[in-house]
């Protein structure tokens, strides 16, 4: 794996390079103290992985990702734990390391790199993460990341700037959009049946003309989405 390191702090670059040196399959091609120089480099060279600091003068790591056309896999490196949730918004971000990076944590990040697919703008994350490999997602509630297993979710409902995630045991209100969560959910389990509702098709109890019953909720099904719903059913 060809890597570059972008961090304005020389000590941080040295630490990352030293951790990488323990993995013979990885090679540091270049180190950059400045994101603009890295952008120029990437215009002419391809790399597999970028180790990227978030806090840099004038240009944050997130600005950097948004600037480059087809970002490769990215591992964020920062002293700040508070950006974790923003990191989930980017398909290319494979992991998030908090400084100072421990040997054990770095090893886990490398494992994630090996199993992560190459990010592509033409492939959505829901196609990349089949439900048999990723079984859960995380939501940010009151600065806590809470794990929710896919198979416990019954319904997701859009509520203005928020979404309501209903599970077997609990409901969660999260500041997000239906589109964002739709991209995280496995397509073999979940289906958008209405502009405001995504349902877990395994949780359907019964279906009427324009609605489905899931747990105790009657969810409307729009005419346009009904054919796809019917296709999913194992009809006798």
């Amino acid at each position: 794996m060809k890597c570059i390191i972008i961090d304005d702090e020389a000590m941080a670059r040295a630490i990352i390079a030293q951790r990488i040196s323990n993995f013979p399959e990885m090679e540091v091609l270049e180190e950059f103290s400045n994101a603009m120089h890295a952008i120029k480099y990437l215009n002419q060279n391809s790399v597999d992985v970028i180790f990227l600091d978030i806090h840099m003068p004038d240009f944050t790591g997130f600005d950097f990702i948004q600037t480059i056309k087809n970002p490769p896999k990215v591992i964020l490196v920062t002293s700040d734990k508070n950006f974790a949730i923003e990191a989930f918004e980017y398909e290319c971000i494979v992991d998030y390391l908090v400084k100072p990076i421990s040997e054990e944590r770095f090893e886990k990040a490398v494992q994630k790199l090996k199993s992560a697919k190459v990010p592509s703008k033409t492939i959505t994350s829901k196609e990349e993460t089949p439900s048999d490999t990723v079984n859960e997602f995380y939501v940010n509630i009151d600065r806590r990341l809470i794990k929710i297993e896919f198979n416990t979710v019954t319904v997701v409902e859009a509520k203005g700037d928020y979404i309501l995630i209903k599970t077997d045991n609990k409901n969660y209100t999260v500041h997000s959009t239906l589109k964002k969560i739709e991209d995280k959910l496995p397509t073999d389990l979940f289906l958008k049946v209405h502009r405001s509702f995504i349902i877990n098709t395994k949780k359907i109890i019964d279906i009427e003309d324009n609605s489905v019953l899931i747990a105790k909720d009657v969810i409307p099904v729009s005419r346009a989405n009904r054919p796809e719903l019917m296709k999913r059913l194992n009809l006798l």
């Binding site: 020389a10 806090h55 400084k99 100072p100």
Partner: protein, 105 residues
């Protein structure tokens, strides 16, 4: 008050003495520059930029094994973001302790 140490750098270096010396050289070179930047930004009352410099210094604090001091720095960074200099003295004591330690390496 807790004292800086080289535990993290030793773990990172393993048996690689040349890397250890490289790390020490980097810290010896970067730390005084960062402290100077911190002081000049604080003097100009640019609290946002000072908070960013404290943020950067936090990495050196943790690499030198100052776990409790890290939390003081974190709190001071938050205070600066609110244009408050509460914990300035405590933070600068940490900087002095680090600088003295690094000077002796």
């Amino acid at each position: 008050m807790e004292q800086p140490n080289l535990n993290y750098i030793n773990e990172l270096s393993g048996n690689d003495e040349s890397f250890k010396q490289k790390m020490i050289a980097i810290v010896k070179s970067e730390l005084p520059q960062e402290i100077e930047n911190y002081r000049s930004l604080l003097e100009s009352q640019n609290f946002k930029a000072t908070a960013e410099m404290v943020h950067k210094l936090k990495h050196k604090i943790s690499v030198l094994g100052l776990e409790k001091s890290y939390y003081i720095a974190e709190q001071f960074e938050d205070n600066l973001k609110q244009s408050s200099i509460v914990l300035q003295n405590e933070f600068e004591e940490i900087l002095n302790s680090m600088q003295n330690f690094v000077d002796d390496l």
